[in-house]
């Protein structure tokens, strides 16, 4: 005799189906809750992060920003061979000085031997990897000996840091001499 199946015989399957459906609904709900709204807007990432990334604070400005206020230095710095050197390299980032258009703190100024360290950071001949076309390098203290100045002299005693050849050129002019290998 064939066995008659009662509906209760399928109860375990039904239970499993209910559990799966409930778990699925919960999973969809949880996914909606935990995933950021803009996830997948443009791809597998949070679309609103593009906006966040664009609003990352800009702390370094350009030399032009500094020239807005520092007029006398602008005239010297812009005319000299150091015109490509960033103000912020020696003096620190703009944002430490001005925030929201307001003055917040004084910029550090390098003094004494710090200046020499800073000059030699680029101009030291002992580092041979520096291409001659890019930069004029000097050996220390041979440069001082060659120019017949006191060996204890600091760079900024002959070279104005914002335009290194300003005083040198003036001195040559006063003496009525031509500068050798002058670079424009």
């Amino acid at each position: 005799m064939e066995k008659k199946y009662k509906s209760s015989d399928y109860a375990h399957v039904l239970r499993l189906a209910v559990i799966i459906v409930v778990a699925g609904v919960l999973a969809v709900f949880a996914r909606g809750m935990f995933l950021p709204d803009t996830m997948g807007q443009y791809g597998h990432y949070r679309g609103s992060d593009l906006v966040d990334q664009r609003n990352v604070e800009i702390r370094s400005h350009t030399n032009e920003s500094c020239y807005e206020c520092h007029r006398p230095i602008r005239l010297i710095h812009k005319a000299g061979v150091h015109k490509t050197v960033s103000c912020e390299f020696c003096h620190g980032p703009y944002a430490d000085h001005i925030t929201d258009g307001k003055y917040v703190a004084k910029m550090p100024v390098k003094r004494d031997m710090e200046i020499k360290t800073l000059c030699l950071r680029c101009h030291n001949k002992i580092i041979r990897a520096r291409p001659e076309e890019s930069i004029k390098v000097v050996a220390m203290p041979q440069h001082l000996e060659e120019k017949k100045v006191n060996i204890a002299h600091n760079c900024n005693q002959c070279h104005m840091v914002h335009d290194p050849l300003l005083w040198v050129k003036a001195a040559y002019d006063m003496m009525g001499l031509e500068m050798k290998g002058e670079k424009k």
Partner: protein, 267 residues
């Protein structure tokens, strides 16, 4: 507490209205991005970027580093550290010094990532030096980035205009991307415990400024521009005959960072 209870009992409806409107206004303020505090008087270094609010630009940016011009001053590293307050010991960009002796042995060093500049010559080279030069390194912004592929949470992604960025809110700090990057440009920020790397200064670029390192380079060894613009310097360099190469071309990542005058010894 008693005051609040009194307030509620006085007019329940008005109280709920006030609380709700306050919450909505507060959350809206958090959603609306704060206006960028950029001085509009700043010169626009990348034309056509300001006022472009679309999520992706129509541009195709490329970075060119001229190895034959770099003097290893470390201006770029200083600018980068200033711009992003990069934690000590980690570098978004750094400058390597290569020394090759006449027995073809290659010596590479990068004291503090070039942040303090190069003050001392290498003294441990056994034979006369044949060639020596600086190689600045930064994110290669690959066409096929390995880091994006491995990220399990979708925290690192490639924008349609070619930037690879990291969503620091989604990053879980698993470090897969750090291992996957063939150029080792990624690091785990010890403070936020999330992955970080050079972004080619995405925020600056979107506001019409050059990346911080390009802006400060005194010898113009770093060049940045749009390849869709046929008058840009990078377009001219990459389309005209020059010695151009990318790092590890065999990896197949197709970097958008190109080197001008790179020696074959560089990895």
């Amino acid at each position: 507490m008693i005051d609040i209870k009194k307030e509620i009992q006085k007019d329940r409806r008005a109280f709920i209205k006030n609380v709700l409107s306050g919450t909505i206004a507060g959350s809206l303020l958090m959603v609306i991005p704060a206006g960028a505090a950029l001085d509009e008087r700043l010169p626009e270094q990348l034309p056509g970027m300001r006022g472009d609010d679309s999520p992706f630009t129509e541009k195709k940016f490329a970075f060119v580093v001229d190895v034959t011009a770099c003097i290893g001053c470390g201006s770029c590293c200083v600018a980068d550290k200033n711009e992003y307050n990069v934690p000590d010991g980690n570098y978004r960009t750094w400058v390597e010094r290569y020394v090759i002796d006449d027995h073809d042995e290659v010596f590479v060093d990068s004291p503090n990532g070039g942040l303090d500049g190069y003050t001392e010559p290498r003294k441990d080279i056994p034979y006369p030096v044949r060639d020596t030069f600086f190689v600045p390194k930064l994110c290669n912004m690959c066409e096929k980035p390995s880091c994006v592929q491995v990220c399990p949470v979708g925290a690192t992604y490639k924008t349609e205009d070619g930037f690879i960025l990291i969503d620091k809110d989604r990053c879980v700090g698993c470090g897969y991307c750090i291992q996957a990057c063939p150029y080792s440009v990624r690091f785990l920020n010890p403070v936020s415990r999330t992955a970080e790397k050079c972004t080619w200064c995405y925020s600056r670029v979107r506001q019409g400024l050059l990346p911080a390192c390009v802006n400060v380079c005194p010898v113009h060894a770093r060049k940045f521009g749009d390849l869709n613009d046929k008058t840009s310097e990078v377009y001219k360099i990459l389309r005209e005959p020059h010695v151009i190469s990318v790092l590890k071309p065999g990896m197949g990542n197709q970097p958008a960072l190109h080197y001008l005058g790179l020696r074959r010894e560089v990895v």
